[in-house]
């Protein structure tokens, strides 16, 4: 059927795989700027096409019916899902894609074991060990990502779910996984398929148990970490299959996931192990939570807010996940448009953990047609704050709490914040004075230059936009 065939593991095939991973690297490199990123994505996709076609041209490939079937089903699901998904649902989409990727690795590892056993020869350790590793990490990622997906999609409660003694159970599971891996490796002359399947099952249970206790607010870290895991599992599969394209591509993904995980953890001022094993992100952390007495604060209406904004020179909007939940990004953009018509400078200050995955808030605002030049990172906007007339906090809480800087005893002490308290005036749009996920009072709400606008973010923004238009 196909004339040109490539020898598996031969120079021609390897050369084409090198072309493929080079295109991946060029594609990611182009992703460093919004204007070239779209082209970069196409370049990376072209690299993938090269890799896939090269593999299909390998000498001895058969079972075309099954290959077409698998490709057809997967392509159809992928196309439909990517067209239908809402931008607010992007974190769960990424979790799902991540999950199927991990699942594919686990399945490939399983069939490699079967294949090796069926040959009846000694299983070389330099492919057996990567296969075992790929199977474990792939299975953990598949199930962990599915739980993350279910939490983000509200199929299961986002609050931490943990059984007593969970840490012990996890430790025992991990130990069992290590022991079985060692047994398989020692027995490399005839590894047992049954043991390998048990390994996949234990890894699956571990994946479930590790992600279940993690609260919704910690999802940006979890998704990044699972991304790093699947990357590593793909690289391991590359070692097992002697495939350079898999090794390099998997490593790139692993690096990306690792960098994002570390950035997210830094932005929350918590270590990765603390996030994974403390079950924070839901339960109020005790201590200072006792001060429930009403503290004096200033409350205003949409009309007052509109006047403050309309007569300002510069306004900074600080969006948080609450904005995404209320689907208020378009309404906020209307406020910004009205202000810009009056000559007010409007910028957006994005905290690294605003949203439910790295960079999520930027995508939501881009969807509402906010130009990316107006999206400012925390380090960039903080020095501008003292020169800002009005800072508007929408659906954000802990990331603006000055206690992180001023109170060394605060549970969030040291967490980098957007310093809205440095602005001349602050308007906080929020439903109530209730604390954020860290469970602590936000001192910002009680500062003399802060005005609280108690309302749903979307309704309030629409009202403010209308009021500014009427001025």
């Amino acid at each position: 059927m196909i004339e040109a065939v490539l020898k598996p593991g031969g120079d021609a095939a390897t050369a084409l795989y090198i072309v493929a991973f080079s295109l991946f690297i060029i594609g990611i490199k182009q992703g460093t700027h919004p204007t070239t990123a779209k082209r970069g994505n196409l370049i990376a996709a072209a690299g993938m096409a090269v890799a896939v076609v090269t593999t299909l041209l390998l000498d001895g490939m058969g079972n075309w019916g099954l290959i077409v079937l698998g490709l057809g089903i997967g392509t159809a699901i992928g196309v439909i899902a990517s067209i239908r998904v809402q931008m607010t649902e992007m974190p769960q989409m990424v979790a799902l894609y991540n999950g199927v990727g991990g699942g594919a690795v686990a399945l490939i590892a399983w069939s490699e074991i079967r294949h090796g056993i069926s040959l009846g020869e000694d299983f070389p350790l330099d492919s057996l060990i990567p296969v075992i590793f790929a199977g474990i990490v792939g299975s953990v990622s598949f199930w962990g990502s599915n739980i993350a997906f279910a939490k983000l999609q509200d199929l299961i409660p986002t609050r931490p779910i943990a059984a007593p003694g969970q840490q012990v159970i996890n430790a025992v599971l991990l130990l069992a996984i290590i022991v079985i891996s060692v047994v398989l490796a020692v027995d490399h002359e005839s590894p047992s398929q049954g043991l390998f399947i048990l390994l996949l099952v234990l890894a699956a249970i571990l994946g479930n148990l590790v992600v279940l206790p993690i609260g919704g607010a910690d999802m940006p870290v979890v998704i990044s970490l699972l991304n790093a895991f699947t990357g590593l599992s793909a690289a391991a599969a590359g070692f097992a299959l002697d495939n350079v394209a898999l090794i390099v591509a998997g490593t790139l993904v692993g690096s990306s996931g690792t960098i994002l995980t570390m950035e997210m953890a830094t932005a929350m001022n918590r270590s990765v192990s603390n996030i994974l094993f403390s079950g924070f992100g839901g339960a109020p952390s005790g201590g200072g939570g006792g001060s429930t007495e009403e503290r004096p604060h200033v409350s205003i209406g949409a009309q007052d807010a509109a006047i403050k904004l309309a007569y300002a020179d510069s306004v900074v909007i600080v969006p948080g996940y609450g904005l995404a939940v209320a689907q208020a990004q378009h309404a906020i953009k209307e406020v910004a448009d009205e202000l810009e018509k009056r000559g007010v400078t409007v910028n957006y200050a994005i905290h690294p953990v605003a949203g439910r995955m790295p960079g999520h808030m930027n995508v939501l605002l881009a969807e509402a047609d906010v130009p990316y030049e107006n999206l400012k990172e925390m380090e960039e906007i903080n020095p501008e704050m003292p020169r800002t007339d009005v800072a508007v906090v929408v659906g954000a809480n802990d990331v603006t709490n000055p206690a992180a800087k001023n109170d060394p005893d605060s549970p969030i002490a040291g967490m980098p914040i957007i310093e809205v308290n440095e602005a001349q005036q602050v308007i906080v749009i929020k439903r109530s004075l209730s604390p954020g996920f860290a469970g602590i009072d936000n001192d910002l709400f009680y500062e003399p230059n802060t005005s609280m606008l108690f309302a749903d973010a979307k309704a309030a923004a629409a009202e403010i936009a209308a009021e500014i238009g009427n001025l």
Binding site: G74, I350, G359
Partner: protein, 105 residues
């Protein structure tokens, strides 16, 4: 390929990965993630090889599911990234672009 060659490639790829990816701005982290996710779909090659050379029913089933999973990962990942990046690049503002050029020059 020898194991040591593969480890050499792996280590160099770690450095390249950290170098390239640490330059991606926070603004583009979500598309970066969905794009690297799509690249991760390259594991589908493993599925193709499994099915292409399989001659046993269990491997047919496992491999075909792996191909389907990988294809979801690849096709969905690249398409959704394209959609997102389209939002960043649409309606360019002439003034802002001129400013950016001034800044760069």
């Amino acid at each position: 390929m020898s194991l040591m060659t593969e480890i050499t490639i792996f280590v160099l790829a770690v450095f390249v990965g950290f170098e390239v990816i640490s330059k991606v701005p926070t603004t583009l982290h979500t598309p970066l993630m969905s794009q690297t996710n799509a690249i991760h779909g390259i594991v589908m090659l493993g599925g193709l090889i499994v099915v292409g050379f399989a001659n046993d029913r269990v491997e047919y089933v496992i491999g075909t599911i792996a191909i389907a999973f990988g294809a979801i990962n690849i096709v969905g990942g690249f398409m959704v990234t394209d959609r997102m990046l389209g939002m960043f690049s649409r309606k360019p503002r002439p003034k802002a672009e001129a400013d950016a050029k001034k800044g760069a020059g």
